[in-house]
């Protein structure tokens, strides 16, 4: 049974929104008309209010409790709050969109809310799951799905409501390359079949370039900056968009120039290392590797192959199941294996930057956050002050020193988590997906910083699926090919 929906129309006239408790308008003076069936890519600098616009179109911004609006924003000539079933909104975080414990129930949720009769619900559930390519039994637990699968599940749930307007708010930002492709293909299939109107926000333009027929750019100071065909808008605005962090094809971020290496001593080796989160091994084949000073090792592989586990094991945070991790070159009197080091000893030897920066935050202000490491080492106050000032300047955090770390933007949090690790100057830095979901500006800064560290003699281990990152920085690549094999490669320098 196919899914029918006629595309929805969007009309906006001088529309604006202000969140409650803030003095500035998130959006103002928006004039738009989107015809049924159009496919639109929405771009703009961070803070331009793109997400707010999408939430408004979905009718989930809230009422008087949450803020005030002026102007007019209509979907199919009606207020968005009144036509919620007509509009589907897909958000960025796969985990925060799973509502029920079983696949079938989750997809049926939207239909239940709309009052669809029971038989019809289950028919739609089947059709929706097929349309997004999720061939799973209806009682499959939703907690056992990958990121890409969860996003497709959410998409199926939206699809079952048979919406005329599909809104996607950075749907692939938290996914690896495989997941991105899955979601893109699913959206393409859905839009082709239903003829629904599509509005996408994404800062990687290349993902949606072929699918959309219109690009709208919002200005950070209010109003619409540009509106037209992808070719025209990207040609006109491409450079300024790239400058604010959008990944525009044709305007890639700059790659750093590397200096020649001086010291080639070994810092880290593993011997027949078998890793695992618990006592059971998650990766069967023993891993043997060697890392030298000033070199960068990239760990790659598909989801679930144990990349993060390996990074945490190398960092002395998880014990090896069998085999050893040996950091004799870093030991400085502390014993050979990082896992045996005390927490404070790790600070000056190996620094680990987690995939989710929020897991690392322990203080109430950015300044205190930067001071945690040096304080734990017992450094004198003036030394701590110097280090904080230096890092804040280097990583553009000086205006944020008294802010609460949780209130920072995504890019700022990433910079802060890297800065806290660098505060204690470890000779080996391990990063777990450092460029995940980052805009191009932050990417560029991060890569430049890491290149500087490498030139200074710091070694780097990075778990990543970002091929550009690997090409810019990595000297070696360790590919975890599924849970059974590992392959070493020397990365060709393409600079």
């Amino acid at each position: 049974m196919s899914i029918d929906a006629v595309g929805a129309r969007i009309d906006a006239r001088a529309w604006g929104w202000r969140h409650a408790g803030r003095s500035g308008w998130a959006l103002s003076g928006i004039d738009l008309a989107i015809a049924p069936g159009e496919r639109v890519l929405l771009l703009g600098a961070s803070g331009a209010g793109k997400s707010t616009l999408l939430h408004a179109l979905a009718g989930v911004l809230g009422g008087d409790d949450d803020g005030e609006a002026h102007g007019q924003l209509l979907v199919d000539g009606q207020l968005p709050e009144l036509v919620r079933g007509r509009v589907g909104l897909l958000l960025q975080d796969p985990d925060a969109q799973v509502i029920l414990a079983r696949v079938g129930d989750d997809v049926a949720f939207g239909c239940e809310n709309l009052g669809v009769p029971r038989d019809e619900i289950w028919r739609r559930v089947d059709a929706a799951l097929t349309a997004v390519g999720l061939a799973l039994p209806l009682n499959h637990p939703t907690s056992a799905l990958s990121g890409g699968q969860k996003q497709r599940l959410a998409l199926a749930g939206i699809l079952a409501m048979q919406p005329g307007l599909l809104l996607l708010d950075e749907p692939t930002a938290n996914l690896d390359a495989h997941g991105v492709e899955e979601v893109r293909a699913a959206v393409e299939a859905v839009v082709a079949e239903t003829g629904a109107t599509l509005v996408v926000i994404e800062h990687r333009v290349s993902i949606w370039r072929e699918l959309v027929d219109r690009v709208i750019v919002l200005s950070a100071s209010g109003g619409v900056l540009a509106d037209g065909t992808p070719d025209r808008v990207l040609a006109e605005q491409g450079e300024s968009l790239a400058a604010v962090g959008v990944w525009v094809p044709g305007f890639p971020p700059a790659r750093p120039v590397r200096a020649p290496r001086r010291d080639a001593s070994v810092v880290l080796t593993t011997e027949a290392l078998v890793i695992g989160r618990t006592a059971r091994a998650s990766h069967d084949e023993p891993i043997t590797l060697e890392l030298e000073r000033g070199r960068a090792l990239a760990i790659t592989g598909p989801n679930g192959s144990g990349k993060s586990t390996l990074a945490l094991t190398l960092g002395g945070l998880l014990p090896p199941v069998t085999g050893t991790v040996s950091a004799a070159g870093l030991a400085n009197g502390a014993g050979e294996e990082p896992i045996s080091w005390k927490s404070r000893e790790l600070l000056t030897r190996i620094g680990t930057v987690f995939q989710d920066p929020e897991h690392q935050f322990v203080a109430a202000t950015v300044r205190d956050e930067l001071a945690v490491g040096p304080r734990a080492l017992g450094l004198p106050e003036h030394e701590i002050e110097t280090r904080i000032a230096h890092l804040a300047a280097r990583l553009r955090l000086n205006t944020l020193l008294s802010a609460n770390p949780f209130t920072l933007s995504g890019g700022e949090k990433r910079r802060l988590s890297v800065a806290t690790v660098l505060a204690t100057r470890p000779p080996l830095v391990i990063l777990d997906e450092p460029t995940f979901g980052q805009d191009s500006r932050t990417w560029q800064e991060l890569v430049a910083l890491l290149a500087e560290l490498l030139d200074d003699g710091t070694s780097i281990v990075a778990v990543t699926h970002d091929r550009e990152f690997i090409a810019a920085l990595a000297d070696q690549e360790l590919r975890l090919v599924g849970p059974t094999r590992a392959r070493h490669d020397d990365v060709e320098a393409t600079r």
């Binding site: 925060a96 129930d105 239909c111 960092g315 927490s343 945690v372």
Partner: protein, 262 residues
Amino acid sequence: MSVLTPVKGSQAVYRLNPVSKLAASAIISVTLVLSIDWVSAGVALALQIVLFFWAGLGLRPFFRRTMPIWIAAVLGGCTILLYGRVSGETYFQFLFIQISDGSIELAIATTLRMLAIALPAVVLFVTIDPTDLADGLAQIVRLPARFVLGALAGLRLIGLFAEDWRSLELARRARGIADRGRLRRFWGQAFALLVLSIRRGAKLATAMEARGFGAPNQRAWARESRLRSADGVLVALAIAISTTAVTVSVLTGNWNFIAAQS
């Protein structure tokens, strides 16, 4: 063990409607709590033990799940033994402690009572699937759907708590503060977990609203929650156990209404 993955099986107890399990547990709890005497509690407990074998939970998981109850029941009994109302002959006295005939009897009654009330509750609750419970509460008991489903969705986030907690632990080791101050670190981690969870909850709420949740129209139900004859049997059994226990207790003159304890 996770509250989201209930014990599964094919025995009858797994097919019962969660609402009837709640009702059965409520009936037993309310009647037994009205009196503190060892006869009513003992009779109820004996009858329940027979039923537990019928429920087929299995001896080892049963004891694993109910161990805290056994411990607490014994401790509760000890409290009463030492500090309970004095009557009859006194056997031991020290400061506030006074062990007497009366307190011994009350202690035994307290222990048996705790067991008789708590054990069936655990057996029944352990087999409840949260989604089915939500369906039952909303469709049969007619609690407001917004609250029941909102609570269910929030409950799901438990699963992510464990992963986040592990990451938070490892991160503290990496930040150099894991050597000392375990208690302080625990509360810091708990706070961070709360922050992450509230944020995720807010996003989840937006996602649910985007799927039409909370709208004023009448909601449909994809899974029907129905009461079957087996549910009636369960409730009848609960009533039977309760009335038998109370009757035996009253007839043997042991009934000890708690409100009369002034």
